[in-house]
């Protein structure tokens, strides 16, 4: 593993069991997992449906407590609260229906007390790169699912978090938009030096965006392998047409195939 000084997030023996509830026995959703994110690293997480990816993200964010083990963020154990400096884009639509697009994006900035001029500048920039400039006064109800997801991505990124956790952020987007949004994410990542954890079900997206892709097993999710992409920091969506690209997605799939069959009960 990496030198301790470089480690931005460290998971040690993390696991999660959801207790039994009415009509349902307890679910061992995750782990145990040991894992480290280097500062400024772009890490992908792929795994079969229901293997505990969202659970893992919520534990890293401090939204859910692990049943066992600890998470350290910037050298401090995460416990109870979400630490400052973490941004999360959730799998579901989390836009605020009572605010228009611009106010949605500015929400966190205003709460953080960023001044008006700077807020306006960052919101304009985000509207631009998310392709939402013409919709700044529209309400979420007037947008498509993909546009709402972009609002949520923008709302998180304008805060310039040091750790960005993304739970299938491009799930509602079409392939072209997905590639271009991915490029914008890469650019922001390069400019801010943030650490990124990207959960995705699209293997090509993981292979294109990440430095390293971790593969999870069927539930209870554990890390069963990882693929290093070896891309330079300066990269964009055109890496998909380089000769090595197909090999990367191929390696991811060969790690995943058996686990996905298991998850679907096809064993």
């Amino acid at each position: 593993m990496t030198k301790t000084a470089d480690v931005h997030v460290a998971l040690r023996g993390v696991s999660r069991v959801y207790p039994a509830s009415a009509g349902h026995s307890s679910v061992h959703a995750l782990g145990p997992i040991d894992f480290g994110f280097r500062r400024g690293e772009f890490v992908g997480v792929v795994g079969p449906s229901g293997c505990g990816k969202t659970t893992l993200l919520e534990i890293v964010a401090g939204l859910t407590a692990p049943t066992d083990g600890t998470v350290e963020f910037e050298g401090r154990v995460v416990r109870g609260d979400v630490p400052d400096g973490i941004g999360v884009v959730f799998q579901e639509d989390a836009s605020f229906p009572w605010l228009n697009v611009a106010d949605n994006i500015a929400f966190g900035l205003r709460r953080a007390g960023v001044d008006g001029a700077e807020t306006a500048r960052r919101v304009d920039y985000a509207l631009g790169f998310m392709g939402l400039t013409d919709f700044r006064r529209a309400y979420p109800a007037q947008l498509s699912g993909g546009m709402r997801q972009r609002v949520c991505i923008a709302r998180t990124l304008v805060l310039r978090p040091r750790l960005i956790l993304l739970d299938e952020p491009f799930g509602a987007l079409d392939q072209q938009t997905r590639l271009l949004m991915g490029e914008e994410l890469l650019r922001l990542w390069r400019e801010t030096g943030a650490t990124v954890m990207l959960i995705t079900h699209a293997l090509d997206e993981a292979a294109m965006l990440c430095d390293r892709v971790a593969v999870m097993s069927a539930r209870p999710g554990r890390f069963i392998g990882e693929v290093l992409t070896g891309w330079p920091r300066e990269r964009d969506s055109r890496v998909v047409s380089t000769p090595g690209f197909g090999d990367l997605t191929g390696r991811l799939w060969s790690l995943l195939r058996d686990e996905s069959r298991k998850a679907l009960g096809m064993a």
């Binding site: 919520e58 964010a61 939204l63 609260d81 979400v82 400052d84 973490i86 941004g87 999360v88 959730f90 579901e92 639509d93 989390a94 605020f96 229906p97 009572w98 929400f107 966190g108 709460r111 309400y139 109800a141």
Partner: protein
Amino acid sequence: MSRAGLLRLLVIVLLIGGVEFLCRIGIVDRFTMIPPSEMVASLVRLVGTADWFWPDVTYTLRNIIVATCMSVVGGFLAGLAVHALPRLRRVLDPLFSSYYSVPTFVLYPLLIVVFGIGPLSLIVMGAMFGIVAMIVATLNAIDRVPRVLLKVARVARMGSVSTALRLKLPAAAPHLFTGLKLGVAYSVIGVVAGEFILATEGIGRRIAYSYNNFDNATMYGMLVLILMLVAVANSLLQGWERRLHRRWYRR
């Protein structure tokens, strides 16, 4: 106006017209009820001539407004608190759902003993009557706030007060209208009925007084006034609700 709206108007006109007809041909005698047209005429006359009219109306309106604010704001805050304590909620839920089967007005004499004959007793009566509807509506409304929004609040490191006011309140707003409308209606009923039972001023007390003096013109005139007040308040709220819903939900 929509087709349904037109039909609704037609139903109302037919009903009022029917009552007017029954009164005019004498099937309903004048000691029981005067024709609706005369009720309105009587109200118009009272506005111009009765020296008690504006003092009584402002007295009642003020009490209704204060009682409504107390039941709506108090109900929302109490709802928030109970929602945050699931155990307390399990204890209280059956009490809330049986609250309106209790004849709250039997407590009015007790209120008079405690607060005296005056606005305070009436306001407490109105607020007590309305608050539970608002609490129940708040609980249901917050249940319907998507969990992911509460996660967003935690990631934004919002405290519980700012989460309540800046996230739960707006997110729950469209579903709070049920409570708001009931809260207004119940507060009106509580205040007017309290005045009706025992008070020194107010619309309700004026109605009771005219009833005891066989003054049907005044009694029905003031009844029409109350109906109009409630109808106006309700349609304002309804319009507001519709505007919010149109903005928030698809198409």
